[in-house]
């Protein structure tokens, strides 16, 4: 059971503070913040999500730079409390549309209302946005979405998909739109995160796709929804073939290692026709999470080379090739590479006619950064960098540099080939068809090439 819940800003100010049981001293927020800020335990420089100070257990998760914290003196399930903190953040986001320090401060009374219903005397009552609606009366004061940082979660669909209102995902589930009635629409997002490690020779050492089918419904009347996935989808890899790329490649089927489902999902006909049916609750929630280690074609190939070029000099050549269809465009690509410690100066040479590319050498942590606004499928981009060393180094410069890591977002593309074949809304409404958005996006989680 939870004794206190609070949200702290990056500077350690209390934005909301709710004491449920009065078992933990009032100064706990301060104790917590000092501990997190000056964390020192062995070599770890980052506080783990759970720690104990003087018999009080502190749990925290970081969401958009804010610290969501719970305290207790009881030996509870850590996974329950951490999941709950994430969920509270999500519920607040559902209500406020946008979750950040500003919106929280503006709506803290609403947040208190929510907190009173989510937890009573330390016991979780409900985190369902839908059920909470009946008990929450404050109208959210919506903050300006335009002030969101361009890399915020809401913006991943903003580019490359012009027909979609970027603001949609930042809409509160309760606020009515200026026009009066709410727009009937439903968003189904297939979000995949790729983790891949290439060896220095370009061979794939490990690869994994972590996917989520996320839904956000603004439909009135809670209609039932049917979501059909690939017919040839199979789940569970045969024993012993984990990471054995032989078995599945070429056959064309999508093989997931494992998946799990939101509790509203009914799997009655899933085994027969790969159809999920559900009555979506309000707010954003994952319909299905899945994990795949089956071989897939990585969207980018990375080639990196560092060579000594005379004394105190070296040259780096970075090449990124986009191996997806030319109809697809990746955006906000960022390539980073740690350089040898003794590097003092770097001069860059972009390919001729390069547009929307920037380069930088971060002196403080000796890192090369190369950003590209977009990369069209099938194209290839190269960066040359000339390094100057401050002093002679006996160390092997290849060992001192790398690995190269890449981050990117590719809208309307997914590497697993998992698809939503159709999205059916079972509703007899005569007025008009609700808007249905099915969107795919692939992002890099840990996309690394060793050199």
């Amino acid at each position: 059971m939870i004794s206190q819940f609070f949200v702290l800003s990056q500077r350690g100010d209390n934005i909301v503070f709710r004491d449920y049981r009065g078992e933990v001293q009032k100064g706990s927020a301060e104790i917590f913040f000092r501990k997190v800020k000056f964390w020192e335990d062995g070599d770890l420089q980052e506080a783990p999500p759970v720690f104990n100070v003087d018999g009080v257990n502190y749990f925290h998760v970081k969401v958009v730079g804010l610290l969501f914290v719970a305290t207790t003196r009881v030996n509870v399930s850590p996974s329950l409390v951490l999941e709950l903190l994430q969920r509270i953040a999500r519920v607040i986001k559902d209500y406020l549309g946008i979750l950040n320090e500003d919106s929280l401060r503006k709506n803290f009374v609403l947040v208190y209302e929510l907190l009173d219903e989510v937890i009573d005397f330390g016991y979780v009552q409900s985190t369902s946005t839908e059920m909470l609606k009946a008990y929450v009366f404050n109208e959210p004061l919506v903050v300006d979405a335009a002030r969101l940082s361009p890399l915020g979660p809401a913006s991943i669909f903003a580019q490359g998909t012009k027909r979609m209102p970027g603001i949609a995902v930042t809409k509160s589930v309760v606020a009515t739109e200026p026009g009066g009635r709410r727009r009937e629409e439903i968003f189904v997002d297939i979000i995949e995160k790729i983790s891949i490690t290439f060896s220095s020779s370009g061979y794939i050492l490990t690869s994994e796709i972590d996917g989520t089918i996320q839904m956000k419904s603004y439909l009135s009347g809670n209609p039932e929804i049917r979501l059909a996935l690939n017919d040839d989808l199979s789940i569970g890899r045969s024993q012993g073939s984990a990471y054995g790329y032989r078995s599945s490649s070429g056959s064309g089927t999508v093989v997931l290692d494992d998946c799990n489902f939101h509790e509203s999902v009914r799997l009655d006909s899933f085994d027969i026709d790969r159809t999920l049916s559900l009555i979506p609750p309000d707010g954003e929630f994952p319909v299905m999470n899945y994990r795949m280690t089956q071989e897939f074609r990585p969207p980018f190939r990375i080639n990196a080379l560092i060579e000594e070029a005379g004394s105190l000099k070296a040259e780096v050549i970075l090449k990124v090739s986009a191996e997806f269809a030319s109809s697809v465009t990746a955006n906000t690509i960022k390539v980073q590479m740690p350089l040898p410690k003794c590097t003092s100066r770097v001069s860059f040479e972009l390919e001729s006619g390069a547009v929307g590319q920037t380069t930088d050498f971060k002196e403080a942590n000796k890192r090369l950064e190369w950003s590209l606004k977009k990369i069209v499928g099938g194209s290839e981009h190269t960066l040359r960098a000339k390094l100057t060393f401050a002093q002679e180094s006996h160390v092997n410069i290849t060992k001192e540099s790398g690995p190269v890591s890449v981050t990117f977002t590719i809208p309307m593309y997914n590497a697993s080939r998992l698809q939503v074949k159709y999205l059916q809304i079972a509703k007899k409404s005569a007025t008009h068809e609700p808007y249905r958005w099915v969107r795919y996006v692939t992002q890099a989680n840990s996309y690394v090439a060793r050199i």
Binding site: M1, D13, I15, F17, G22, K26, G42, D43, L44, Q45, E46, P48, P49, V50, N52, G55, H60, V61, R73, N75, S77, P78, L80, E83, Q86, R105, K106, F108, V109, Y112, D116, D120, F121, Y123, V124, S126, S128, Y135, N138, E208, D210, G236, A242, D258, C259, N260, F261, E263, P286, N289, Y290, N365, H394, V395, P403, S405, N445, S446, V448, R450
Partner: protein, 897 residues
């Protein structure tokens, strides 16, 4: 209070209304407020504080960033103005003011002085205002118990509102006041709340009962609310009401059971089959959080037989596919607990839970991954093979937080075995060059740990030596420490290692631990390292600059060792080191130098035998945690114990320990066990004293119908019939013990002597300590797995010992079954067994003849070391020593013709 008044009633009605409940001096209107003495005093104080009204208007830019003290008094006057106002828009102004008050409260400014004004403004139909007021009142009522009285009235009235939500809110706030002298006002509203036809109100009322219990336990129990909760738990259609009943009853009865036996019984019956089945059958109707609660609750239930276990597991199978990691982990815990006594099913469970847990690691937030990985780590320690082919899941990703990376490194260390070591070590070597230096260090340590747990270290040694050549300070430092440990275990590698270590300049090593390691190697292998005396000499020259006492201590010893091997070259360094040591301000350094000096004065060869005796290679480095503690943590699966890697008694106060109530005894036990063997005999004497008393009473009571050992009249362990032995002289027990002593291997005897076992009992000449009463076992004892499991979980360990096995015994232990048959012939029965050569694990039980008293044994046999570790748990702890002796003698006969 009988008639209902409309909520919209203004201040005047509410004031007159109040006076019906309280003496007339507590009313709300301005002019009568002064009649309360306390209130008057407070208001005069405040008026002093308010004296110069601050000339500020609306200064604070955002409602949650108010400015300070003067604003509190400002708010007070504004609230007062609005209190009676029914002007249009008054509610909006009130909302703004209330928001400011609450935002002050949030950032920790004391706004309790506004209590009266806040309550005055609370007469409103605006639900948002009401809620803010409730929040405020709940926060300050405890520190202002007198003022809290003011709120009772309007809260009680709202408890009867026609809107169920208002009823619920008011009831919740009423119960949250936490003021002891107001409890009488709670009983009525709670009673009707529990019977309310709206589930929201009932849900609030159930938790309200728990709140009442914490304010006044006797009021709560006297009102007989617990019976109502029990009824609701089994009958309410709303699952959240049911879940809250379960939470409340568990908490209350756990707290009560420390003082009341009845509550302890109630808690036991809560865990009965009908309740468990009732909850499980509705599991899918519960919210995900309530599901966790139910699963945790059910994991304490002991099913009667295996078909019940399978039914439960089949029912809950799909919970493993839940997106919420907390539900998955709670299910995993239940499955593991259910199958503890079914070794093969237990293994299947491990296979089954693997994929869902890995999905939780990668699909959740980093924080959730951390929680799940901690549990995986625990599982891997118990069953290393389960993830041995999935090791790649534990490779670090460059953007993970370091707490996740650290756990993953621990996982990689734990899953490493012959088949995957090469790949894992290769991967770890990549991290050694990582920009994240703490993780790079951890990676190198991980390589070292893997090296120390492997049989074949060829490839690893090469890697470690490569680290030494990387010329990064921290890499060199970590690698030196590892090489030192490695040499202590595998001295055969000294040639290869020393060649590389010799190339390292001691000037490049700064960290004390690494420096100490290097110096140790210089001393230990000075005959093989050419310039060892000279390196040591230069280190001694810089004695004063060496800040670490640890390094100086090592330096003294190393110089000594070097001196014994190469006296002429080291003589100078030794002299300098001893001189510097004697002058050292650090006590330990000084003492060691003096000790060495005197040793050398006395006799050089004696000194050598003291300082540098021939060493044996370390076979296994001491495990940081006893297996007992690890088992404890496993019992507390899905709790903080797993994350902290310590059992709950180590970090939780007693009153907050909740459901893990046995941890305490075990904690004490393990502490005494650690505090040295000398304690053990003393305790035993005490135990034996008690024992004599107990055994006489047992003779009278022990003949229960269920344990009619005499009816079987089977030959008991020592050959005489069971009934007669109890009355035979104590010396009879000597028969089995002395009988085996001739046959048992010499080594086991030696250990027994060390442990102070009474082998002398046979002579019966030593009058004290009194020998334990004769122990005979029921050859036909029966125990079902469920009971075994329950007892195993509940009883503390009374004896934990290690025996040696005879070579014949080891040779015969090709399959677990061979031992089972053997032990059965000694009336010790097996309930579960498993494992493969060289590690076997058995659970045995035995029953005292003619008594219900059961002994439980966990026995782990390692055939390669010919050792067995046993843990005995017993109903009757006083006789567990005698049982242990029996057990050991039976075990030692295994394999003998």
């Amino acid at each position: 209070m009988k008639e209902r008044r409309p909520r919209q009633s203004g201040l005047a009605t509410s004031a007159s209304h109040t006076s019906k409940v309280y003496p007339s001096d507590l009313t709300f209107s301005e002019e009568t407020k002064g009649r309360s003495n306390r209130l008057r005093r407070r208001s005069t104080q405040l008026s002093v504080a308010m004296a110069p009204p601050p000339p500020q208007s609306h200064r604070s830019p955002s409602p949650s960033q108010p400015s300070g003290k003067s604003e509190v008094s400002d708010l007070k006057s504004q609230l007062r103005q609005l209190a009676g106002s029914r002007a249009p828009g008054a509610d909006d102004s009130k909302r703004d003011l209330f928001k400011k008050v609450i935002s002050n409260m949030t950032i920790g400014i004391d706004v309790s002085s506004l209590f009266g004004e806040m309550v005055m403004c609370s007469a409103t139909s605006d639900i948002v205002l009401k809620k803010m007021c409730y929040l405020y009142v709940g926060n300050y009522a405890k520190v202002n118990p007198d003022l809290a009285l003011l709120t009772i009235n309007f809260l009680q009235r709202d408890c009867k509102d026609e809107d169920p939500m208002i009823r619920g809110l008011a009831l919740r706030s009423l119960c949250s006041l936490r003021v002891a002298n107001l409890v009488e006002y709670l009983v009525g509203p709670l009673g009707s709340g529990l019977k309310d036809n709206n589930s929201y109100v009932r849900m609030v009322a159930v938790i309200g009962v728990l709140k009442l219990y914490h304010i006044s336990a006797s009021t709560c129990i006297d009102a007989d609310f617990l019976a109502t909760l029990k009824h609701l738990m089994l009958n309410d259609p709303d699952t959240q009401v049911v879940a809250n009943c379960l939470s409340a009853l568990q908490e209350i009865w756990t707290l009560e059971s420390s003082t009341s036996e009845e509550a302890a019984r109630e808690r036991e019956t809560l865990l009965s089959k009908p309740v468990v089945y009732h909850l499980l059958n509705r599991i899918k109707e519960f919210s995900e959080w309530a599901q966790c609660l139910v699963l945790e609750f059910v994991s304490k239930y002991i099913p009667a037989d295996s078909s019940e276990i399978f039914d439960m597991m089949n029912l809950l199978e799909d919970r493993l596919q839940h997106a919420n990691g907390a539900v998955v982990l709670a299910t995993v815990k239940l499955f593991l607990q259910l199958t503890l006594s079914m070794a093969d099913v237990h293994q299947q469970v491990y296979e089954r839970i693997k994929a869902p847990l890995l999905t939780q690691v990668s699909s959740g937030s980093p924080e959730q991954s951390y929680a799940v990985l901690s549990h995986l780590h625990l599982l891997v320690l118990r069953a290393p093979y389960i993830f041995s082919s999935d090791y790649k899941h534990f490779y670090c990703q460059y953007n993970e937080p370091s707490y996740v990376k650290k756990l993953k490194l621990e996982m990689l260390t734990a899953v490493a075995n012959e088949s995957n070591t090469y790949e894992i070590v290769t991967e770890l070597c990549e991290y050694a060059a990582n920009v994240d230096i703490p993780i790079a260090r951890e990676s190198i340590r991980a390589v070292g740990k893997i090296a120390l747990q492997q049989y074949d270290v060829n490839a690893i040694v090469d890697r470690l030596l490569q680290f030494l050549e990387m010329e990064k300070d921290y890499v060199t430092s970590e690698a030196l420490v590892l090489v030192k440990d490695l040499l202590r275990k595998y001295p055969q590698w000294s040639q290869d290692c020393i060649a590389v270590v010799g190339n390292i300049s001691s000037k490049n090593v700064q960290e004390p631990k690494a420096k100490a390691a290097l110096i140790w190697m210089l001393g230990e292998y000075s005959q093989d390292m050419h310039d060892a005396p000279y390196v040591l000499e230069s280190l001694v020259e810089n004695w004063d600059e060496e800040h670490s006492a640890e390094v100086r201590l090592h330096l003294l010893t190393a110089v000594m060792k070097c001196f014994f091997k190469r006296p002429p070259e080291t003589k100078k360094a030794l002299g300098a080191a001893l001189a510097a040591g004697l002058a050292d301000l650090h006590q330990d350094v000084h003492d060691r130098a003096l000790f060495y000096y005197r040793l050398l004065q006395y006799n050089v060869s004696v000194a050598e035998s003291v300082v540098n005796p021939p060493k044996q290679a370390v076979s296994v480095f001491a495990d940081t945690q006893s297996s007992e503690i690890k088992d404890r943590i496993f019992d507390e699966f899905n709790s903080l114990s797993v994350v902290y890697q310590k059992p709950s008694y180590m970090f939780t106060d007693k009153e907050h320990r909740g459901t893990f109530e046995f941890a305490d005894e075990l904690g004490n036990l393990s502490i005494t066990a650690e505090s040295g063997e000398s304690v053990v005999p003393a305790q035993r004497v005490e135990a034996n004293d008690k024992d004599l008393l107990l055994s006489t009473s047992e003779k009278d009571e022990g003949r229960e119908p269920g344990s009619n050992g005499s009816a079987y009249n089977a030959p008991s362990y020592n050959g005489s019939s069971a009934p007669s032995t109890t009355s035979q002289p104590l010396a009879d027990l000597a028969f089995p013990s002395t009988g085996i002593s001739g046959q048992a291997s010499a080594s086991s005897l030696a250990i027994d002597d060390l442990l102070g076992l009474d082998f002398a009992v046979g002579t019966a000449a030593t009058p004290s300590p009194p020998p334990p009463p004769p122990l005979n076992l029921n050859p036909k004892a029966v125990l079902d797995p469920g009971t075994f499991q329950q007892k195993w979980r509940q009883l503390p360990i009374s004896i934990s010992e290690e025996y040696s096995l005879s070579p014949q015994g080891i040779a015969s232990l090709t399959t677990p079954n061979a031992l089972l048959r053997h032990m059965q012939s000694h009336s010790i029965h097996c309930i579960a067994s498993g494992g493969q050569s060289p590690n076997f694990k058995f659970f045995f039980f035995a029953q005292k003849a003619e008594a219900a008293s059961i002994y439980l044994v966990e026995c782990i046999i390692n055939t390669s070391s010919a050792k067995s570790q046993i843990k005995v748990k017993a109903d009757d702890q006083s006789s567990s020593q005698a049982f242990s002796t029996l057990f050991q003698s039976a075990l030692s006969k295994f394999g003998l013709p």
